[in-house]
Symmetry: C2
Subunit: 563 residues, 2 copies
């Protein structure tokens, strides 16, 4: 449905505006290409955003990461791009300015918590659930399978017991899990439904007796489930029961369907909390798959070093895919590979394809951000590579980003420190040079699940959830010069107890891929930074060399020699 068609519909329903969010009933995670409402609406293909169509205007809110991309993709004059946090709240502020008070939205796509907040804050506004005007909801067949316990480290029976213990504590009858990644983790149940995530898109209702009922499109295979129509019936028939749920991950529509006959207890998604602390099998899997992923990257980088002439960005993406696919336990990529050559590197989430595809030019930078899903874990790595000879400006900028990366990598901090505070550790290194980056420093990462996983993050406006041991995040400061180049250095890392300081945590890196020494000015590094870099490279070489051929080994030895 185009913008003009939505306007016709608005007139029929009698509302003045319609909100189109990126999310579906899984609230922003796990969106299939054909469900991308913003792409259907206006061409924007990024994975965060919210649009609003009024009777005579239309606006798309995106954050800094997607600003350039959104402007490039939405060329029509029908919609105005606004660089502001893409939240329903931003939309309300705008509508308030325009004296628009009757707002249509889809209550499946906004959480209970969000709508409670908005209805409290914008009392004069009417929020009217008019459902999905873009008509993306179809019941797709999904075949589920069980993941082996040697990878999960814990049986679903044991995980369900952890949930029923919480239900007993709260004297509740059931927990409704509405985050698909929590459901997959809880039941060790996965699918091949999504392009970049192995999770199964389902809700789970877990009773205090440990019985599990699943709800999904059309779930087959290792476990069956009811479909969304049947789910609505189940909700409508509930009474004299007490259900726990996470108001931040549960669509408001569910509360509407349940009505007042059920006691609801709002809490955090307890599976999200459980799975953030990786168990020993998961951690070992993450360590193992990062060696294979490092091998894949080294095979690519050593090949690219010799063969970049005449290549286009998308050739690099395809080659990397080909190499990764050959690795043991490979499942899929963990997101669409970003390969931004020259100015494209400054578009934070630029993804080349048949249409957008520049040639690699001599004396430019190539920003390569990619990751894999392996049966034993998930990877996400960014390297920025000098194609030909870098300029002194590139070297100086890259070295500063490296200093920011190392500052966080070497950080020691008290248990329960939030990522909001750790974000500053990396970011302030760039502040000191009068620069900044418009994205978080790090995000939580699943072990075989979503490459962006809550509740932990390392970002300025992020979660205040505190760090514990065995939590995995990325460390990815960057620097972007519009029209010139982009730089980002990203490793995954996990938290361990400090061996020397009681009550303190430290990071250990998972990612093992050389950092381009052509881009480092060693005289800008402190002794400690240089020692970190040399130790890192030594470890990378020792970990990967056994899996490489002679040519690759020689290349890696040089790439990892001390500075």
């Amino acid at each position: 449905m185009k913008i003009t068609e939505i306007r016709e519909k608005l007139k029929t329903v009698g509302v003045d505006a319609y909100v189109v969010s990126y999310g579906n009933r899984f609230l922003g995670q796990d969106v299939l290409p054909e469900e991308h409402k913003l792409k259907i609406l206006c061409g924007f293909s990024g994975s965060a955003g919210i649009a609003v169509v009024t009777l005579n205007e239309a606006f798309l809110f995106v954050d800094g990461r997607y600003e350039l991309q959104a402007r490039a993709e939405t060329k029509s004059k029908e919609i105005t791009v606004i660089d502001e946090m893409p939240r329903f709240k931003s939309v309300c502020d705008l509508l308030q300015q325009k004296n628009i008070s009757a707002v249509g939205y889809d209550a499946w796509c906004h959480s209970v918590a969000e709508m409670e907040y908005l209805k409290r804050r914008y009392r004069e506004m009417q929020f009217i659930d008019i459902g999905d005007l873009l008509n993306i909801n179809k019941f797709r067949a999904i075949t589920a399978y069980n993941r082996d316990i040697r990878f999960t480290g814990m049986s679903s029976t044991d995980k369900i017991t952890s949930v029923t213990e919480v239900l007993q504590d709260y004297q509740a009858d059931a927990f409704l899990f509405t985050s698909a990644d929590s459901v997959s983790w809880l039941l060790n149940l996965y699918a091949r439904d999504l392009p970049y995530s192995p999770i199964v898109r389902a809700y789970a209702l877990v009773s205090k007796q440990g019985e599990v009922e699943l709800f999904a499109d059309d779930l087959q295979g290792a476990m069956k489930g009811k479909n969304w129509e049947q789910f609505a019936t189940v909700l409508a028939q509930m009474e004299n029961t007490c259900i726990m749920f996470d108001a931040h991950s549960t669509p408001e529509k569910i509360k509407m369907l349940i009505g007042d006959k059920v006691k609801l207890i709002k809490t955090k998604d307890i599976c999200a909390l459980f799975k953030a602390e990786k168990n020993p099998a998961e951690l070992q899997g993450m360590i193992n798959c990062h060696i294979r992923d490092g091998v894949a990257l080294v095979k690519l980088l050593s090949w690219l070093d010799k063969h970049w002439h005449g290549l286009k960005e998308f050739d690099v993406v395809k080659k990397l895919h080909e190499i990764r696919t050959a690795q043991e336990n490979f499942f899929s990529e963990s997101f669409a590979t970003i390969a931004g050559s020259g100015p494209n590197g400054a578009i934070v989430h630029y993804q080349p394809d048949a249409e957008h595809n520049s040639s690699l030019q001599e004396n430019t930078l190539l920003l390569l951000d990619s990751g894999g899903q392996y049966f034993d874990g998930t990877t996400d790595v960014t390297r920025t590579i000098a194609i030909g000879q870098p300029t002194t400006e590139m070297i100086s900028d890259f070295t500063n980003v490296l200093k920011a990366h190392i500052a966080l990598a070497r950080m020691r901090f008290p248990q329960n420190t939030s990522g909001i505070k750790l974000d500053v550790i990396a970011r302030s290194v760039l502040w000191q040079t009068g620069q900044d980056y418009k994205h978080g420093t790090g995000h939580g990462v699943a072990c075989f699940g979503n490459v962006h996983e809550g509740p932990i993050s390392i970002s300025a406006g992020g979660s205040d959830y505190g760090f514990k041991t065995n939590m995995i995040t990325s460390n990815e400061p960057g620097l972007y010069k519009e029209g010139k180049y982009g730089i980002r250095i990203e490793n995954l890392q996990y938290t361990v107890q400090s061996e020397t300081a009681d009550g303190f945590l430290e990071f250990r890196y998972l990612t093992k891929v050389p950092i381009d020494k052509k881009l480092i000015d060693k005289y800008l590094l402190t002794e400690g930074e240089l020692a970190w870099l040399n130790e890192y490279h030594k470890n990378v070489y020792n970990s990967l060399a056994p899996y490489l051929n002679e040519i690759e080994k020689v290349w890696l030895k040089d790439a990892c020699s001390p500075l």
Copy 2:
């Protein structure tokens, strides 16, 4: 009234607990010694805390700064000290555990915002205003005077106009200012009522026509005011009007007295926002008074260097008072001087007096935290001094605190960055050594007003108000080893636009007092840190030398020679 007497009263009134906060009707600021309810109740003399008396127990909540002091001062077994944020909320959590639901409190001593939050959060609790059982409220005579415009930089007429402009924007009839420091700033009206602050303890009601009505104990001198009984009558008689106020600084009692006949608009205390950004006259005054204060400190330190043998902590306090008093424009100290020798230095807010007074011992540290109110500004400085020869542990710890101090002093950061984020810049230097300090890194400072001034601060749990230019804060990381020593290095600093990075701010220091080089291991400093220190000392010498005698000048030259 003792704890046992309070229990009798509780039985009469029919509540199960009574809350005693540190604050009075100015909510924690500006408490006179004879009004110190916690001291009356249990002997604790610190300036933050909250106690609760139940029918068979009593508890005192204090934060980390006051933990050791509270245990030392409340020796009786009647009250249990709890190291937890001293908030009414902490009390409620405890009472909830104990199944106590009817809580008595004094609605003059808790803000509208706090009580709204508590009543929403603890729905099952009854909060019953039973007034001040410790009977501290007396109507004291206060003589007010006007501060010269060459110091204030702005007439009260112009300041009032800024307020009436805001009232017009909001279509409100009046603003009720309930923070005494805001009232003093607005009217350029001061008094000699409080031991460490020149402000006048009054509320002000400013009408949209710019008329000002004052309320206080018994206000005389440059402006007259109504007393608190008359204030209650004024409130009760209000109707058909619209009043703006700050829910965080206004006692709940006021809202109770006003009732429902008045439209209330909650907003920030706009004077607090205005005065946080110092005007040129105020900034120049701060610079000037810091030179005189530096001269006073150098006179003390050079004397102490030769004469510490046989001295006690309180002798140092008295000597410093004697020297400061002789400085031009001196008004009072800005807080009770902290002089902690050896283990006393680890008690963050230790103040020696006739009773608590240790001798200075050879080979120990002396932590000296003091400040002055001058007619042109306010100072607050901490230096830690080696008495005799320091140990290598002392030197290593002091150098780390210095590195933390310099990290913040040299920081560059985007405009509107909050102090929550800047706190990490200093603190993380100590984290890296596996250590931390249980207080904020910095607080806002008035120009001739409260030495702790909102809304700006640099602390982990502090204000998220963003930094603008010309804002003054302290920079005071520390390190405390119980039973051994305390270290803190504190300068005041103000924000300026970066000259080289657009949109970024930097700090400039105000405090000019040498940092004890005997305690610095220069080989632990980076080149940049050492350059900062040497430049700082050079500036200190050049600024202060003209005002010193020859002996002091020689001492300072040595103290400020480059490392």
